[in-house]
């Protein structure tokens, strides 16, 4: 039912590779500020890389919880810290491979893309995903 650290990282990467890529392909042409695919896919990549680091932090915090769980609400609300960090990195122009100055990227383009992907993944992994894989929830959220 609850994932392990390995399972959380696997699920996160798998979801970004599916829902993340899907929404990036669909939304990029209509995002404000007219970003190109290079920018949006680099941002998706940054979300994935930083996400692994975030998982390690969450895992450490979980050790202080008796249940060793991460309540549904936490999984939802952590979009704030994760998104805010990337906005900060963009503002400071610390995101590599963008091809433009990070501070020139329209923040709303990132916010919209990020939240749509986040919500789809959060809803999907909290329910419908189980329809396709009966093993996933008992095997600690591992895909492989």
């Amino acid at each position: 039912m609850l994932p392990t650290l390995n399972g959380r990282i696997q699920t996160r990467l798998f979801m970004l590779a599916t829902w993340g890529v899907f929404w990036t392909l669909v939304l990029t042409p209509i995002l404000p500020g007219d970003p190109d695919y290079r920018i949006t896919f680099v941002l998706l990549g940054v979300v994935a890389v930083l996400g692994v680091i975030w998982e390690l932090i969450y895992h450490a915090l979980m050790q202080f919880r008796w249940e060793k769980d991460w309540p549904t609400f936490f999984g939802f609300i952590t979009c704030i810290n994760e998104g805010a960090l990337i906005i900060l990195l963009l503002r400071l122009d610390l995101v590599p491979f963008l091809g433009v100055d990070g501070s020139d990227v329209d923040i709303w383009a990132f916010v919209i893309l990020f939240l749509v992907i986040w919500m789809s993944i959060w809803v999907w992994t909290n329910g419908p995903m189980r329809i396709f894989n009966v093993h996933w929830r008992f095997f600690g959220g591992r895909i492989v």
Binding site: M1, L2, E67, K68, T72, R130, R137, G140
Partner: protein
């Protein structure tokens, strides 16, 4: 413990035959034939055998049986590849998995003394004060009727009532709301639907199984004792390649001083166990101002207290409750250290107060898939037993409603706490005096009724089938004394040629997976068993395509 109670198949059943009629083309059974048809219908047996059709000394004393030995005893043999013994929720979820994995009904038989899978569970939950309208202690996604756990109970309840309240609850639990748990009635109704959908009754054969023995040449004989008159012989042997044992709790164990008092005074009326029907206590309390001594600090004690307090606060009973704890928890704790916060690790510490240790479910949530499941899967012997102990110990969920009631009771003086161990119990007219050893010395507590909520479980060897498996079947015990199963839930030591025996439920507690005696635990076990069987060519492994198509059938209510 709510979700714990599973599938003990003794003592409850109204005996009715559910055997199907022989269909066209089915021949009469000849017990000597290498293969016979999977039915126990009397009309199908070979006529008048010279032997009695009962177990004999040769059979009872042999660990391995040949087909000839069984036939010579006159016991009809029924061939079916897979039998599950118990017929409670453990058997049900395993059979559900196998049916969804494509196993037809004629390859499965459920040998059971009960009429429907939740019969024992419903009895035990009802008497321990969880009638259908009350909520059990089980997670939203632990659905014995749905192997996917989607939609969860919370989602189903929200859709049914057209009210998102339960969805909000799972969203903010456990910080700003109690853990969502389903109503007992909803659990039973959904299982009823699934029972019909997978044609469970076609697989059900009524009777008791007390012996399973290995067969020369592979597989097993499970000896069924059907209800009187249903079959032509006293016993029927089910010859199968695979056996699954899910008989639930071996039995209740009573505290020695309670048992002594009941036997000596012949008083089964004033001292009751919470798992016995004890409605008469509550009826009496409604009529006369009385004192009740409640013993135990687990979920059942919480339930019984709620009933007593509801009766007082809502229905006007004038009851004084004395609650006796053996270990009084009043701070951070774990199952090892009891109430000694200095000894608990900051990484393994649960909340506790007012006597109770608080925990949402029977185990920390991550035993059903997360970190603790992974950790336990790697541990052996002493190390495993130690982790079981750390996360064990009596506990109950923190529920806001209960907290409110208890706080009011303490404030108004009708809910009193005591800490100690009972040394002796003596009668005083109609009342019972418990002599309690406390840190301050011996204190007598006089009460009109004693409700024992300690929930002790009997040893596995108290169950005749399990005793036989330990003595003749090759089964052994795990580090906490129950049946030793492998990670696939195979009962270690019982392999018989190409035959495999599995077990799940509370009898396997102490294995590589901790949450066995819960709804979700039974499903975890069922998945491991179904996967292992698929590797052996029995049923298909449930991959994404089958999973999706079968879920759609579940959602549509399509019979499979």
């Amino acid at each position: 413990m709510d979700a714990v109670l599973s599938c003990r198949g003794t003592g409850l059943s109204s005996v009715t035959s559910t055997n199907r009629l022989p269909s066209e083309g089915e021949a009469a059974m000849d017990p000597n034939a290498p293969s016979v048809f999977p039915t126990t219908d009397m009309g199908n047996y070979a006529p008048a055998m010279p032997a009695a059709g009962d177990l004999n000394d040769q059979l009872l004393n042999s660990d391995f049986w040949t087909d000839e030995m069984v036939a010579a005893a006159g016991i009809p043999i029924v061939d079916v590849p897979f039998v599950t013994i118990g017929g409670g929720i453990g058997s049900f979820v395993t059979v559900d998995y196998l049916r969804i994995a494509g196993v037809p009904t004629d390859q499965i038989r459920v040998l059971s003394a009960i009429d429907f899978p939740w019969q024992t569970y419903e009895y035990l939950t009802r008497v321990s004060q969880i009638p259908r309208k009350e909520r059990i202690r089980s997670d939203s996604a632990s659905r014995p009727d749905n192997i996917w756990g989607f939609p969860s109970y919370a989602l189903s309840e929200a859709l049914k009532n057209k009210n998102p309240k339960t969805l909000w609850q799972v969203f903010v639990e456990p910080m700003w709301a109690d853990f969502y748990t389903p109503k007992a009635g909803m659990v039973f109704e959904s299982m009823e639907r699934e029972r019909r959908r997978i044609r469970y009754d076609e697989m059900l054969v009524k009777g008791l199984v007390r012996i399973v023995r290995r067969r020369y040449g592979g597989g097993y004989f499970s000896i069924l004792t059907p209800p009187d008159g249903v079959t032509g012989t006293k016993r029927v042997a089910f010859r199968s390649q695979f056996v699954h044992v899910a008989v639930g709790y071996p039995g209740l164990k009573y505290l020695p001083e309670l048992q002594a008092y009941r036997t000596e005074q012949n008083d089964y009326r004033h001292i009751v166990n919470a798992y016995e029907s004890h409605e008469h206590v509550y009826e009496r309390l409604m009529q006369y101002p009385s004192t009740v001594l409640v013993r135990g600090g687990g979920i059942v004690a919480s339930r019984v207290l709620q009933r007593l307090m509801d009766d007082r606060l809502i229905n006007g009973a004038n009851t004084t409750i004395v609650h006796l704890f053996r270990t009084f928890i009043n701070g951070p704790n774990d199952g090892n250290t009891g109430n000694n916060p200095t000894k608990t690790s900051p990484f393994m510490r649960r909340k506790g107060a007012d006597g109770w240790a608080y925990q949402g479910f029977n185990y920390p949530k991550s035993v059903w898939g997360g970190q603790l499941k992974r950790q336990m899967r790697k541990l052996e012997g002493e190390d495993r037993a130690r982790l079981y102990k750390t996360m064990g110990g009596t506990n109950t969920p923190y529920r806001r409603y209960w907290q409110k009631q208890m706080a009011q009771g303490r404030r108004e003086g009708w809910y009193q706490l005591a800490v100690g161990t009972v040394e002796q119990m003596t009668p005083n007219g109609e009342r019972i005096v418990s002599h309690v050893r406390t840190p301050q010395g011996m204190i007598p507590i006089e009460a009109d009724f004693v409700i024992d909520c300690t929930g002790l479980e009997a040893d596995v060897a108290e169950h005749r089938l399990l005793k036989d498996l330990l003595e003749h079947g090759g089964a052994g015990r795990n580090p906490v004394g129950r049946l030793d199963v492998d990670r696939t839930f195979e009962l270690r030591g019982t392999r018989s040629g190409n035959g495999v025996m599995y077990a799940s439920g509370s009898i396997t507690l102490g294995g590589y997976f901790p949450g066995v005696d819960t709804f979700l635990g039974l499903q975890v076990a069922a998945q491991e068993i179904a996967d292992d069987l698929a590797k052996r060519g029995f049923g298909k492994r449930i991959g994404p395509r089958r999973s999706l198509s079968q879920w759609l059938k579940w959602a549509n209510g399509t019979t499979i």
